[in-house]
Symmetry: C2
Subunit: 236 residues, 2 copies
């Protein structure tokens, strides 16, 4: 028995190659059940962008660096910085990331994946699929791997969210000396996506994880809640 | 029994108020043991900056907003942005964060905590204390709560690291189509700090967590490995 308050992060193994039109919710429920980790109410299921894009047919033909550059440009609302092969741009959703999320890893030669058109809608659909197949009321996060300014290395963050808050608002909460808290808005969906990466990253090609024991309220958070608007950003 | 590859995040309860000179390693081992979660080899122990600063006597008297501003200035190598009460600065360590990490929450009135002088040294000391008291060879992360540009909400990140890599270098790893990976350097220490926050944040005043089952190599990572150098940063 685990101590009180323990959170478990369980990689979902054996999902296999995902093809356009796949019912990801069903694939995840079946894989989780067959490894003895059937979903329960309150679980948060983290699904990588790559298989969401594959299931949604978000693949484009790319026949060289010039074509890739064109796709990146098309997926960008604006280009923020460019250096050698690295383009940092703002996507049409408002995400700031490398190459507008266009990615050629784990994709057949000659193709690239682009981000889901509406990652929150993707998360809501997977949540509904999971409820239909298993009866479990879960939260869903569609995650991707982003770099950060100021800090080296990449972490997984939330693009789309369903059924849980994306940002936990602690404003007004007081510390034990009666003062309001320093950390007032916690980006829980990003922390959950990062925790899931730790479990998925232990083996190659694991595209989903279950985070169990979070005790988050059921709430209609959105990935877009995590986007700092251009006008309130001091660094763009 | 948890499925293969599961990671557990266990909040360490009952540490109590920390005073200057405290042996944090001993406090953590005793609290973890008394809740039935005695430390084992390979665990990563995440300790919040706040109790590390308290144990190291990193508290300064602050008798008003003007004095606070002076402390922030003194703790900064350079000020990057300033807007109303918010100062974004680069600390002498190279961290970019709000108010140079100077913080008045969970501190008695009239005082503020400043960051540990050398968070990697703090992590190494706690690691040695834990080994001495329990015999367990663990990784240690000293964490703090930072905001980010571009994304709303704060997440916990690693200031100091001991015994594990801070950044997992996957350069040269190939996907199943034989191409090199998109995500090549994973900031695992930041993801672990964020995962720990999820468990600590479930109740008030929990200053440490154990992350179990990561299977990271024993390695002398450093918190400073996570600092992107000024000259290679496109956004400063």
């Amino acid at each position: 028995v685990s101590p009180n308050g323990t959170i478990e992060v369980i990689p979902v193994l054996g999902i296999g190659e995902v093809t356009p039109g796949a019912n990801l919710g069903r694939l995840i429920v079946e894989a989780a059940t067959s490894q003895g980790a059937g979903l329960v109410d309150g679980d948060v299921v983290v699904v990588t962008q790559k298989i969401v894009s594959k299931a949604e047919g978000r693949l484009v033909a790319v026949d060289g660096p010039k074509a890739l550059e064109g796709v990146v440009k098309q997926q960008s609302r604006r280009i923020l910085r460019k250096r050698a092969e690295l383009t940092i741009s703002e996507t049409h959703h408002g995400f700031v990331c490398a190459n507008a999320g266009v990615d050629q890893s784990d994709i057949p030669e000659g193709w690239a994946s682009i981000l889901p058109k509406d990652p929150d809608a993707s998360a809501r659909r997977i949540r509904a699929e999971i409820a239909e197949v298993s009866g479990a009321i879960v939260g869903v996060i569609v995650s991707d791997t982003f770099g950060r300014p100021w800090r080296r290395g990449q972490t997984d963050v939330a693009l789309g969210v369903a059924g849980i808050p994306a940002v936990l608002d602690l404003r007004g909460t007081r510390d034990r000396f009666g003062r309001t808290l320093h950390a007032t808005e916690i980006a829980v969906a990003d922390e959950i996506a990062g925790a899931a990466e730790l479990a998925m990253g232990k083996s190659r090609g694991v595209p989903a994880a279950i985070v169990r024991g979070l005790s988050l309220p059921e709430q209609e958070g959105k990935g877009s809640d995590l986007i700092r608007h251009f006008t309130e950003d001091l660094f763009r």
